[in-house]
Amino acid sequence: MQLETAIILDHRDYGAGYRLLRLAAPQIAPQVRPGQFVHLRIPRLEASVLRRPFSIFKAENGELALLYKAIGRGTTALSAATVGEPLSLLGPLGNGFPLDLPAGRVPVLVAGGYGMAALYLLARRLAAPGLVFVGGRSAQDILCVEEFEALGWKVYVATEDGSRGVRGLVTGPLDAWLAEGCAGRTPEFFVCGPNGLLEVIGQRAMARDWRAWLSVDRHMGCGVGACLTCVVKLQDTDGTWLWARACKDGPVFESRQIHWDRIEEEA
Protein backbone atom coordinates (compact mmCIF):
# COMPACT_ATOMS: atom_id res chain seq x y z
CA MET A 1 0.00 0.00 0.00
CA GLN A 2 1.33 3.39 -0.88
CA LEU A 3 0.47 6.84 -2.11
CA GLU A 4 1.38 7.52 -5.71
CA THR A 5 0.78 10.44 -8.00
CA ALA A 6 -0.27 8.72 -11.18
CA ILE A 7 -0.48 10.43 -14.55
CA ILE A 8 -3.46 10.03 -16.83
CA LEU A 9 -2.41 8.34 -20.06
CA ASP A 10 -5.79 7.92 -21.62
CA HIS A 11 -9.38 8.67 -20.70
CA ARG A 12 -12.24 7.71 -22.97
CA ASP A 13 -15.70 6.28 -23.28
CA TYR A 14 -15.69 2.52 -23.12
CA GLY A 15 -19.30 1.70 -23.88
CA ALA A 16 -22.11 0.67 -21.57
CA GLY A 17 -21.91 4.16 -20.05
CA TYR A 18 -18.46 3.45 -18.64
CA ARG A 19 -15.27 5.44 -18.96
CA LEU A 20 -11.83 3.89 -19.25
CA LEU A 21 -9.10 5.61 -17.28
CA ARG A 22 -5.53 4.54 -18.01
CA LEU A 23 -2.87 5.67 -15.60
CA ALA A 24 0.90 5.52 -15.35
CA ALA A 25 1.40 4.20 -11.83
CA PRO A 26 4.77 2.48 -11.88
CA GLN A 27 4.86 1.94 -8.13
CA ILE A 28 1.38 0.63 -7.48
CA ALA A 29 0.74 -1.30 -10.70
CA PRO A 30 3.27 -4.11 -10.15
CA GLN A 31 1.89 -4.82 -6.68
CA VAL A 32 -1.73 -5.30 -7.69
CA ARG A 33 -3.52 -8.58 -7.11
CA PRO A 34 -6.95 -9.29 -8.65
CA GLY A 35 -9.79 -8.01 -6.47
CA GLN A 36 -7.80 -5.20 -4.93
CA PHE A 37 -8.75 -1.59 -5.41
CA VAL A 38 -7.33 1.90 -5.42
CA HIS A 39 -8.63 4.91 -3.50
CA LEU A 40 -8.59 7.88 -5.77
CA ARG A 41 -8.55 11.57 -5.02
CA ILE A 42 -10.87 13.24 -7.48
CA PRO A 43 -9.37 16.46 -8.82
CA ARG A 44 -11.24 19.74 -8.34
CA LEU A 45 -13.80 18.21 -6.01
CA GLU A 46 -13.25 21.07 -3.58
CA ALA A 47 -16.13 20.44 -1.22
CA SER A 48 -15.44 16.70 -0.88
CA VAL A 49 -13.53 15.16 1.99
CA LEU A 50 -13.33 11.56 0.82
CA ARG A 51 -11.48 9.67 -1.87
CA ARG A 52 -13.42 7.25 -4.07
CA PRO A 53 -12.66 3.52 -4.36
CA PHE A 54 -12.29 1.81 -7.76
CA SER A 55 -11.48 -1.76 -8.65
CA ILE A 56 -8.52 -2.41 -10.86
CA PHE A 57 -9.43 -3.51 -14.34
CA LYS A 58 -5.91 -3.95 -15.68
CA ALA A 59 -2.45 -3.70 -14.18
CA GLU A 60 0.56 -4.28 -16.36
CA ASN A 61 3.74 -2.56 -17.53
CA GLY A 62 3.51 0.03 -14.79
CA GLU A 63 0.04 1.01 -15.92
CA LEU A 64 -3.34 0.74 -14.30
CA ALA A 65 -6.69 0.80 -16.01
CA LEU A 66 -9.97 1.53 -14.25
CA LEU A 67 -13.48 1.32 -15.62
CA TYR A 68 -16.04 3.52 -13.98
CA LYS A 69 -19.46 4.98 -14.48
CA ALA A 70 -20.39 8.57 -13.70
CA ILE A 71 -23.15 8.05 -11.18
CA GLY A 72 -22.60 10.86 -8.67
CA ARG A 73 -20.66 13.98 -7.88
CA GLY A 74 -17.27 12.36 -7.69
CA THR A 75 -17.44 10.15 -10.72
CA THR A 76 -18.97 12.98 -12.75
CA ALA A 77 -16.10 15.27 -11.78
CA LEU A 78 -13.63 12.50 -12.57
CA SER A 79 -15.01 12.34 -16.11
CA ALA A 80 -13.53 15.77 -16.72
CA ALA A 81 -9.97 14.78 -15.82
CA THR A 82 -7.67 15.14 -18.81
CA VAL A 83 -4.73 13.27 -20.25
CA GLY A 84 -1.50 14.31 -18.59
CA GLU A 85 -3.21 15.34 -15.39
CA PRO A 86 -1.84 13.95 -12.11
CA LEU A 87 -4.14 11.83 -9.94
CA SER A 88 -3.39 10.86 -6.37
CA LEU A 89 -3.87 7.15 -5.75
CA LEU A 90 -3.77 5.17 -2.55
CA GLY A 91 -3.27 1.50 -3.19
CA PRO A 92 -3.33 -1.28 -3.85
CA LEU A 93 -5.85 -1.77 -1.07
CA GLY A 94 -7.62 -4.76 0.41
CA ASN A 95 -7.15 -8.47 0.01
CA GLY A 96 -7.84 -9.78 -3.42
CA PHE A 97 -9.25 -13.05 -4.66
CA PRO A 98 -7.35 -16.29 -4.04
CA LEU A 99 -5.59 -17.42 -7.22
CA ASP A 100 -4.76 -21.00 -6.32
CA LEU A 101 -7.84 -23.07 -6.99
CA PRO A 102 -7.97 -26.59 -5.62
CA ALA A 103 -7.45 -29.14 -8.36
CA GLY A 104 -10.49 -29.89 -10.47
CA ARG A 105 -12.31 -26.67 -9.72
CA VAL A 106 -13.63 -24.56 -12.51
CA PRO A 107 -13.65 -20.82 -11.85
CA VAL A 108 -17.14 -19.37 -12.28
CA LEU A 109 -17.27 -15.59 -12.34
CA VAL A 110 -20.56 -13.82 -11.70
CA ALA A 111 -20.82 -10.10 -12.26
CA GLY A 112 -23.12 -7.14 -12.36
CA GLY A 113 -22.20 -3.55 -13.21
CA TYR A 114 -18.53 -2.70 -12.75
CA GLY A 115 -18.06 -6.25 -11.45
CA MET A 116 -16.93 -7.31 -14.90
CA ALA A 117 -14.03 -4.88 -14.68
CA ALA A 118 -13.05 -6.12 -11.24
CA LEU A 119 -13.17 -9.77 -12.33
CA TYR A 120 -11.33 -9.28 -15.58
CA LEU A 121 -7.96 -9.01 -13.88
CA LEU A 122 -8.75 -12.23 -12.04
CA ALA A 123 -9.56 -13.96 -15.31
CA ARG A 124 -6.22 -12.82 -16.68
CA ARG A 125 -4.30 -14.14 -13.73
CA LEU A 126 -6.03 -17.47 -13.21
CA ALA A 127 -4.19 -20.47 -14.61
CA ALA A 128 -7.01 -21.69 -16.85
CA PRO A 129 -10.19 -20.17 -18.22
CA GLY A 130 -13.62 -20.86 -16.85
CA LEU A 131 -17.07 -19.37 -17.17
CA VAL A 132 -18.49 -15.91 -16.72
CA PHE A 133 -22.11 -15.09 -15.99
CA VAL A 134 -23.01 -11.47 -16.35
CA GLY A 135 -26.29 -9.68 -15.84
CA GLY A 136 -27.69 -6.21 -16.29
CA ARG A 137 -30.82 -4.29 -17.08
CA SER A 138 -30.21 -4.08 -20.78
CA ALA A 139 -27.53 -4.56 -23.41
CA GLN A 140 -26.10 -1.14 -22.56
CA ASP A 141 -25.17 -2.31 -19.08
CA ILE A 142 -23.10 -5.26 -20.18
CA LEU A 143 -19.38 -4.68 -20.08
CA CYS A 144 -16.27 -6.49 -21.29
CA VAL A 145 -17.83 -9.60 -22.83
CA GLU A 146 -15.39 -9.54 -25.73
CA GLU A 147 -12.42 -9.13 -23.40
CA PHE A 148 -13.30 -12.29 -21.52
CA GLU A 149 -13.97 -14.20 -24.71
CA ALA A 150 -10.60 -13.16 -26.04
CA LEU A 151 -9.08 -14.85 -23.00
CA GLY A 152 -10.91 -18.04 -23.88
CA TRP A 153 -13.66 -17.72 -21.28
CA LYS A 154 -17.21 -18.76 -21.96
CA VAL A 155 -19.54 -15.84 -21.27
CA TYR A 156 -23.25 -16.12 -20.49
CA VAL A 157 -25.23 -12.89 -20.67
CA ALA A 158 -28.63 -12.15 -19.20
CA THR A 159 -30.49 -8.87 -19.44
CA GLU A 160 -33.75 -7.97 -17.80
CA ASP A 161 -35.17 -6.60 -21.04
CA GLY A 162 -33.73 -9.37 -23.15
CA SER A 163 -31.82 -6.94 -25.35
CA ARG A 164 -28.71 -9.09 -25.02
CA GLY A 165 -28.30 -12.74 -24.07
CA VAL A 166 -31.24 -14.39 -22.37
CA ARG A 167 -34.03 -12.38 -20.83
CA GLY A 168 -34.08 -12.27 -17.06
CA LEU A 169 -31.63 -12.30 -14.21
CA VAL A 170 -28.14 -13.67 -14.35
CA THR A 171 -29.27 -16.53 -12.13
CA GLY A 172 -31.27 -17.87 -15.10
CA PRO A 173 -28.35 -19.11 -17.21
CA LEU A 174 -26.36 -19.88 -14.07
CA ASP A 175 -29.04 -22.11 -12.63
CA ALA A 176 -29.43 -23.81 -15.99
CA TRP A 177 -25.73 -24.56 -16.04
CA LEU A 178 -25.87 -25.82 -12.46
CA ALA A 179 -28.87 -27.99 -13.30
CA GLU A 180 -26.95 -29.48 -16.19
CA GLY A 181 -24.37 -30.67 -13.66
CA CYS A 182 -21.73 -28.01 -14.21
CA ALA A 183 -20.26 -30.01 -17.04
CA GLY A 184 -19.11 -32.43 -14.40
CA ARG A 185 -16.83 -30.05 -12.55
CA THR A 186 -16.95 -28.34 -9.17
CA PRO A 187 -17.42 -24.60 -9.51
CA GLU A 188 -15.51 -22.10 -7.44
CA PHE A 189 -17.40 -18.82 -7.54
CA PHE A 190 -15.97 -15.34 -7.75
CA VAL A 191 -18.60 -12.66 -7.54
CA CYS A 192 -18.57 -8.91 -7.90
CA GLY A 193 -21.73 -6.88 -8.19
CA PRO A 194 -24.63 -5.55 -6.13
CA ASN A 195 -24.84 -7.04 -2.64
CA GLY A 196 -28.08 -8.78 -3.60
CA LEU A 197 -26.19 -10.72 -6.24
CA LEU A 198 -23.50 -11.66 -3.73
CA GLU A 199 -26.13 -13.04 -1.43
CA VAL A 200 -27.91 -15.06 -4.12
CA ILE A 201 -24.72 -16.71 -5.29
CA GLY A 202 -23.42 -17.15 -1.77
CA GLN A 203 -26.59 -19.04 -0.82
CA ARG A 204 -26.31 -21.30 -3.85
CA ALA A 205 -22.69 -22.08 -3.05
CA MET A 206 -23.26 -22.73 0.61
CA ALA A 207 -26.18 -25.01 -0.15
CA ARG A 208 -23.84 -27.35 -2.01
CA ASP A 209 -20.74 -26.78 0.00
CA TRP A 210 -18.93 -24.97 -2.75
CA ARG A 211 -16.91 -21.88 -2.16
CA ALA A 212 -17.95 -18.42 -3.31
CA TRP A 213 -15.56 -15.49 -3.06
CA LEU A 214 -17.60 -12.34 -2.82
CA SER A 215 -16.29 -8.83 -3.38
CA VAL A 216 -18.35 -6.54 -1.20
CA ASP A 217 -19.12 -2.96 -2.23
CA ARG A 218 -19.35 -0.71 0.83
CA HIS A 219 -19.18 3.03 1.14
CA MET A 220 -15.65 3.87 2.20
CA GLY A 221 -13.94 6.56 4.18
CA CYS A 222 -10.25 6.01 4.72
CA GLY A 223 -9.80 2.83 2.67
CA VAL A 224 -7.11 1.55 5.04
CA GLY A 225 -9.01 0.27 8.06
CA ALA A 226 -8.88 3.33 10.29
CA CYS A 227 -12.34 4.91 10.15
CA LEU A 228 -14.62 1.86 10.51
CA THR A 229 -17.05 3.11 7.85
CA CYS A 230 -17.03 0.06 5.59
CA VAL A 231 -17.77 -2.65 8.09
CA VAL A 232 -19.47 -5.93 7.19
CA LYS A 233 -20.84 -8.51 9.60
CA LEU A 234 -18.92 -11.77 9.68
CA GLN A 235 -19.82 -14.94 11.59
CA ASP A 236 -18.18 -15.13 14.96
CA THR A 237 -17.06 -18.46 16.33
CA ASP A 238 -19.69 -18.26 19.05
CA GLY A 239 -22.60 -18.03 16.64
CA THR A 240 -22.94 -14.26 16.92
CA TRP A 241 -21.31 -11.79 14.60
CA LEU A 242 -18.37 -9.42 14.52
CA TRP A 243 -17.43 -6.55 12.26
CA ALA A 244 -14.81 -6.79 9.55
CA ARG A 245 -13.60 -3.87 7.50
CA ALA A 246 -14.31 -4.30 3.80
CA CYS A 247 -11.37 -2.08 2.91
CA LYS A 248 -8.74 -3.87 4.96
CA ASP A 249 -10.08 -7.33 5.82
CA GLY A 250 -11.93 -7.58 2.48
CA PRO A 251 -13.36 -6.52 0.13
CA VAL A 252 -13.31 -10.24 -0.77
CA PHE A 253 -14.90 -12.63 1.72
CA GLU A 254 -15.84 -16.27 1.33
CA SER A 255 -19.60 -16.67 1.62
CA ARG A 256 -19.41 -18.75 4.82
CA GLN A 257 -17.55 -15.93 6.56
CA ILE A 258 -20.45 -13.55 6.13
CA HIS A 259 -23.22 -13.10 8.64
CA TRP A 260 -26.03 -12.95 6.14
CA ASP A 261 -28.81 -11.36 8.13
CA ARG A 262 -27.55 -7.92 7.46
CA ILE A 263 -25.50 -7.10 4.46
CA GLU A 264 -27.76 -4.37 3.32
CA GLU A 265 -27.41 -2.41 0.13
CA GLU A 266 -26.10 1.12 0.66
CA ALA A 267 -27.91 3.51 -1.62
Partner: protein, 305 residues
Amino acid sequence: MSAPDLSITLAGIRMKNPVMVASGTFGYGPEYADLVDLSQLGAMVVKGISSEPWRGNQTPRTVEVASGLINAIGLQNPGAEGFLKTYLPFLRRFDVPVIVNIWGRTVEEYAAVAARLSAAEGIAALELNVSCPNIKEGSKSFGSNADMFQRVIAATRAVTKLPLIPKLAPDVFRIAEFARLAEATGADALAITNSVPAMAIDIETRRPKLANVTGGLSGPAIRPIAVRLVWEAAKAVKIPIIGMGGIYTAGDAAEFFIAGASAVAVGTANFMEPATPLNVAAGLRDYLARHQLGSIRELVGTLAC
Protein backbone atom coordinates in the same frame (compact mmCIF):
# COMPACT_ATOMS: atom_id res chain seq x y z
CA MET B 1 18.29 32.22 12.23
CA SER B 2 18.08 28.58 13.20
CA ALA B 3 15.00 26.60 12.25
CA PRO B 4 12.02 27.51 14.42
CA ASP B 5 11.39 25.17 17.32
CA LEU B 6 8.21 23.13 17.00
CA SER B 7 8.61 21.15 20.19
CA ILE B 8 6.16 21.61 23.02
CA THR B 9 5.49 20.18 26.43
CA LEU B 10 1.77 19.79 26.93
CA ALA B 11 0.32 18.52 30.17
CA GLY B 12 3.81 17.27 30.95
CA ILE B 13 4.11 15.35 27.67
CA ARG B 14 7.06 16.24 25.48
CA MET B 15 6.17 16.34 21.80
CA LYS B 16 8.51 16.88 18.85
CA ASN B 17 5.91 19.01 17.22
CA PRO B 18 2.46 20.25 18.15
CA VAL B 19 0.56 18.34 15.45
CA MET B 20 -1.30 15.30 16.70
CA VAL B 21 -3.90 13.12 15.02
CA ALA B 22 -7.52 13.28 16.12
CA SER B 23 -9.10 10.28 17.79
CA GLY B 24 -11.01 8.00 15.45
CA THR B 25 -9.34 9.25 12.30
CA PHE B 26 -6.04 7.38 12.51
CA GLY B 27 -7.12 4.03 13.90
CA TYR B 28 -4.89 2.43 16.51
CA GLY B 29 -1.57 2.77 14.75
CA PRO B 30 -1.06 -0.02 12.20
CA GLU B 31 -3.59 1.30 9.72
CA TYR B 32 -1.52 4.21 8.46
CA ALA B 33 1.91 3.03 9.57
CA ASP B 34 2.90 1.98 6.02
CA LEU B 35 2.22 5.48 4.78
CA VAL B 36 3.24 7.72 7.66
CA ASP B 37 6.12 7.41 10.10
CA LEU B 38 4.25 7.51 13.40
CA SER B 39 7.40 8.76 15.14
CA GLN B 40 6.99 12.03 13.31
CA LEU B 41 3.61 12.79 14.82
CA GLY B 42 3.35 15.17 17.76
CA ALA B 43 1.25 12.50 19.42
CA MET B 44 -0.76 9.50 18.36
CA VAL B 45 -4.31 9.71 19.69
CA VAL B 46 -6.11 6.42 19.25
CA LYS B 47 -9.78 5.81 18.63
CA GLY B 48 -12.01 5.86 21.72
CA ILE B 49 -11.59 2.89 24.06
CA SER B 50 -14.16 1.68 26.56
CA SER B 51 -13.71 -0.80 29.37
CA GLU B 52 -15.39 -3.59 27.37
CA PRO B 53 -15.35 -4.22 23.60
CA TRP B 54 -18.11 -2.33 21.80
CA ARG B 55 -19.66 -2.96 18.41
CA GLY B 56 -20.91 0.52 17.71
CA ASN B 57 -23.63 1.44 15.25
CA GLN B 58 -25.11 -0.30 12.26
CA THR B 59 -24.20 0.90 8.76
CA PRO B 60 -24.23 3.32 6.98
CA ARG B 61 -21.90 5.02 9.40
CA THR B 62 -20.57 7.99 7.49
CA VAL B 63 -21.89 10.31 4.85
CA GLU B 64 -20.09 13.00 2.91
CA VAL B 65 -21.67 16.47 2.96
CA ALA B 66 -20.57 19.91 1.76
CA SER B 67 -16.98 20.39 2.95
CA GLY B 68 -17.52 17.81 5.66
CA LEU B 69 -18.26 14.33 6.83
CA ILE B 70 -20.95 13.18 9.23
CA ASN B 71 -19.92 10.10 11.18
CA ALA B 72 -21.84 7.86 13.50
CA ILE B 73 -19.41 5.01 14.00
CA GLY B 74 -20.84 4.58 17.45
CA LEU B 75 -17.49 4.20 19.21
CA GLN B 76 -16.75 0.66 18.00
CA ASN B 77 -13.60 -0.55 19.76
CA PRO B 78 -11.85 -3.66 21.05
CA GLY B 79 -12.10 -2.60 24.71
CA ALA B 80 -9.26 -1.81 27.09
CA GLU B 81 -7.86 -5.33 27.15
CA GLY B 82 -8.06 -5.68 23.41
CA PHE B 83 -6.26 -2.40 22.94
CA LEU B 84 -3.53 -3.24 25.42
CA LYS B 85 -2.96 -6.64 23.87
CA THR B 86 -3.31 -5.94 20.16
CA TYR B 87 -2.25 -2.35 19.68
CA LEU B 88 -0.22 -0.85 22.50
CA PRO B 89 2.83 -3.12 21.93
CA PHE B 90 2.83 -2.05 18.28
CA LEU B 91 2.58 1.63 19.17
CA ARG B 92 5.39 1.40 21.70
CA ARG B 93 7.79 0.60 18.86
CA PHE B 94 7.54 4.19 17.77
CA ASP B 95 9.03 7.23 19.40
CA VAL B 96 5.72 9.00 19.86
CA PRO B 97 3.53 9.79 22.86
CA VAL B 98 0.41 7.63 22.86
CA ILE B 99 -2.76 9.35 24.03
CA VAL B 100 -5.73 7.10 24.57
CA ASN B 101 -9.19 8.53 24.01
CA ILE B 102 -11.62 6.91 26.44
CA TRP B 103 -15.38 6.87 26.97
CA GLY B 104 -18.05 5.21 29.03
CA ARG B 105 -21.78 5.08 29.39
CA THR B 106 -21.68 5.73 33.11
CA VAL B 107 -19.30 7.52 35.41
CA GLU B 108 -18.16 4.12 36.64
CA GLU B 109 -17.29 2.95 33.15
CA TYR B 110 -15.10 6.02 32.62
CA ALA B 111 -13.29 5.29 35.85
CA ALA B 112 -12.92 1.62 34.99
CA VAL B 113 -11.27 2.15 31.64
CA ALA B 114 -9.07 4.92 33.05
CA ALA B 115 -7.91 2.67 35.88
CA ARG B 116 -7.21 -0.28 33.58
CA LEU B 117 -5.19 1.81 31.11
CA SER B 118 -3.24 3.51 33.90
CA ALA B 119 -1.96 0.16 35.01
CA ALA B 120 -0.23 -0.30 31.65
CA GLU B 121 3.16 1.09 30.59
CA GLY B 122 3.53 3.37 27.65
CA ILE B 123 0.47 5.58 27.69
CA ALA B 124 1.20 9.30 27.86
CA ALA B 125 -2.25 10.67 28.66
CA LEU B 126 -5.95 9.99 28.59
CA GLU B 127 -8.32 12.04 26.47
CA LEU B 128 -11.87 11.96 27.84
CA ASN B 129 -14.53 11.86 25.19
CA VAL B 130 -17.53 13.30 27.00
CA SER B 131 -19.80 13.49 23.97
CA CYS B 132 -21.58 10.22 24.70
CA PRO B 133 -24.97 10.04 26.32
CA ASN B 134 -25.19 8.73 29.87
CA ILE B 135 -27.21 5.55 29.76
CA LYS B 136 -27.95 5.66 33.46
CA GLU B 137 -29.40 9.13 33.64
CA GLY B 138 -31.48 9.28 30.52
CA SER B 139 -29.89 10.51 27.35
CA LYS B 140 -28.27 13.56 28.86
CA SER B 141 -24.79 13.81 27.42
CA PHE B 142 -21.81 14.05 29.75
CA GLY B 143 -20.45 16.84 27.66
CA SER B 144 -23.36 19.25 27.86
CA ASN B 145 -24.51 18.79 31.43
CA ALA B 146 -22.24 20.66 33.82
CA ASP B 147 -22.80 18.38 36.75
CA MET B 148 -22.18 15.11 34.92
CA PHE B 149 -19.26 16.66 33.11
CA GLN B 150 -17.59 17.46 36.39
CA ARG B 151 -18.37 14.07 37.91
CA VAL B 152 -16.77 12.24 35.01
CA ILE B 153 -13.59 14.26 35.24
CA ALA B 154 -13.44 13.89 39.02
CA ALA B 155 -14.01 10.13 38.88
CA THR B 156 -11.25 9.55 36.33
CA ARG B 157 -8.95 11.99 38.12
CA ALA B 158 -9.37 9.86 41.24
CA VAL B 159 -8.14 6.66 39.59
CA THR B 160 -5.24 7.80 37.43
CA LYS B 161 -2.05 9.82 37.64
CA LEU B 162 -1.96 10.18 33.86
CA PRO B 163 -2.60 13.63 32.44
CA LEU B 164 -6.32 14.05 31.73
CA ILE B 165 -7.56 15.84 28.63
CA PRO B 166 -11.35 16.30 28.51
CA LYS B 167 -12.54 16.69 24.94
CA LEU B 168 -15.35 19.21 24.81
CA ALA B 169 -18.52 18.73 22.88
CA PRO B 170 -19.28 21.57 20.49
CA ASP B 171 -22.91 21.66 21.54
CA VAL B 172 -21.75 23.18 24.80
CA PHE B 173 -22.59 26.77 24.03
CA ARG B 174 -21.22 27.98 27.33
CA ILE B 175 -17.80 26.70 26.36
CA ALA B 176 -15.96 29.03 28.72
CA GLU B 177 -17.98 27.72 31.64
CA PHE B 178 -17.23 24.09 30.82
CA ALA B 179 -13.56 24.85 30.23
CA ARG B 180 -13.33 26.47 33.67
CA LEU B 181 -15.15 23.55 35.28
CA ALA B 182 -12.71 21.12 33.69
CA GLU B 183 -9.73 23.14 34.85
CA ALA B 184 -11.09 23.38 38.38
CA THR B 185 -11.73 19.64 38.48
CA GLY B 186 -8.15 18.70 37.66
CA ALA B 187 -7.97 18.57 33.88
CA ASP B 188 -4.43 19.02 32.56
CA ALA B 189 -5.44 20.19 29.10
CA LEU B 190 -8.53 20.46 26.91
CA ALA B 191 -9.25 19.07 23.47
CA ILE B 192 -11.59 21.29 21.43
CA THR B 193 -13.64 20.30 19.50
CA ASN B 194 -15.42 17.07 18.88
CA SER B 195 -17.68 16.83 15.83
CA VAL B 196 -20.94 18.82 15.69
CA PRO B 197 -24.30 17.00 15.96
CA ALA B 198 -25.82 16.84 12.49
CA MET B 199 -27.86 14.70 10.14
CA ALA B 200 -28.56 14.11 6.47
CA ILE B 201 -31.61 12.62 4.80
CA ASP B 202 -31.90 10.58 1.63
CA ILE B 203 -34.76 12.41 -0.06
CA GLU B 204 -35.59 9.50 -2.37
CA THR B 205 -36.11 6.92 0.37
CA ARG B 206 -36.95 9.52 3.05
CA ARG B 207 -34.69 7.70 5.43
CA PRO B 208 -31.73 9.08 7.37
CA LYS B 209 -28.44 8.63 5.56
CA LEU B 210 -26.93 7.23 8.75
CA ALA B 211 -28.22 4.13 10.51
CA ASN B 212 -27.94 6.07 13.76
CA VAL B 213 -30.04 8.93 12.29
CA THR B 214 -27.74 11.64 13.67
CA GLY B 215 -23.96 11.83 13.73
CA GLY B 216 -21.12 14.27 14.15
CA LEU B 217 -20.09 16.76 11.48
CA SER B 218 -16.33 17.17 10.99
CA GLY B 219 -14.05 18.63 8.35
CA PRO B 220 -13.58 22.10 6.84
CA ALA B 221 -17.27 22.95 7.36
CA ILE B 222 -16.77 23.17 11.11
CA ARG B 223 -13.40 24.92 11.20
CA PRO B 224 -14.78 28.43 11.80
CA ILE B 225 -16.94 27.03 14.61
CA ALA B 226 -13.99 25.22 16.16
CA VAL B 227 -11.69 28.24 15.98
CA ARG B 228 -14.34 30.29 17.78
CA LEU B 229 -14.72 27.65 20.50
CA VAL B 230 -10.95 27.48 21.04
CA TRP B 231 -10.73 31.26 21.21
CA GLU B 232 -13.49 31.49 23.82
CA ALA B 233 -12.09 28.66 25.92
CA ALA B 234 -8.54 29.98 25.76
CA LYS B 235 -9.67 33.27 27.23
CA ALA B 236 -11.24 31.41 30.14
CA VAL B 237 -8.54 28.98 31.28
CA LYS B 238 -4.80 28.64 31.84
CA ILE B 239 -4.47 24.94 30.96
CA PRO B 240 -3.36 24.28 27.37
CA ILE B 241 -5.83 23.59 24.58
CA ILE B 242 -5.50 21.13 21.72
CA GLY B 243 -7.41 22.67 18.84
CA MET B 244 -9.05 20.66 16.09
CA GLY B 245 -11.81 20.81 13.53
CA GLY B 246 -11.21 20.85 9.80
CA ILE B 247 -7.45 21.35 9.79
CA TYR B 248 -6.02 20.59 6.33
CA THR B 249 -3.11 22.99 6.00
CA ALA B 250 -0.50 24.71 8.11
CA GLY B 251 -2.51 27.90 7.63
CA ASP B 252 -5.59 26.25 9.10
CA ALA B 253 -3.52 25.11 12.05
CA ALA B 254 -2.04 28.58 12.50
CA GLU B 255 -5.55 29.96 13.00
CA PHE B 256 -5.99 27.64 15.97
CA PHE B 257 -2.63 28.60 17.51
CA ILE B 258 -3.34 32.29 17.08
CA ALA B 259 -6.76 31.77 18.67
CA GLY B 260 -5.08 30.22 21.70
CA ALA B 261 -4.41 26.53 21.07
CA SER B 262 -1.07 25.12 22.25
CA ALA B 263 -1.30 22.11 19.97
CA VAL B 264 -3.57 20.93 17.16
CA ALA B 265 -4.93 17.66 15.87
CA VAL B 266 -5.66 16.63 12.30
CA GLY B 267 -8.76 14.47 11.82
CA THR B 268 -10.90 14.11 8.73
CA ALA B 269 -8.07 15.41 6.53
CA ASN B 270 -6.20 12.14 7.08
CA PHE B 271 -8.76 10.32 4.96
CA MET B 272 -7.90 12.42 1.93
CA GLU B 273 -4.18 12.83 2.62
CA PRO B 274 -2.66 10.60 5.29
CA ALA B 275 0.47 12.73 5.41
CA THR B 276 -1.48 15.83 6.43
CA PRO B 277 -0.15 15.92 10.03
CA LEU B 278 3.44 15.83 8.76
CA ASN B 279 2.74 18.42 6.08
CA VAL B 280 1.06 20.69 8.61
CA ALA B 281 4.06 20.45 10.92
CA ALA B 282 6.47 21.26 8.09
CA GLY B 283 4.27 24.12 6.95
CA LEU B 284 4.13 25.55 10.45
CA ARG B 285 7.91 25.59 10.56
CA ASP B 286 7.99 27.63 7.36
CA TYR B 287 5.29 29.93 8.66
CA LEU B 288 7.18 30.59 11.89
CA ALA B 289 10.37 31.29 9.97
CA ARG B 290 8.57 33.69 7.66
CA HIS B 291 7.10 35.48 10.65
CA GLN B 292 10.40 35.44 12.49
CA LEU B 293 9.09 33.48 15.40
CA GLY B 294 11.62 31.26 17.11
CA SER B 295 9.13 28.79 18.49
CA ILE B 296 5.57 27.67 17.99
CA ARG B 297 4.98 28.72 21.56
CA GLU B 298 5.39 32.33 20.51
CA LEU B 299 2.40 32.03 18.20
CA VAL B 300 -0.07 30.80 20.81
CA GLY B 301 -2.87 33.24 21.63
CA THR B 302 -1.45 36.13 19.62
CA LEU B 303 -4.72 37.25 18.08
CA ALA B 304 -4.70 41.05 17.88
CA CYS B 305 -8.19 42.36 18.51
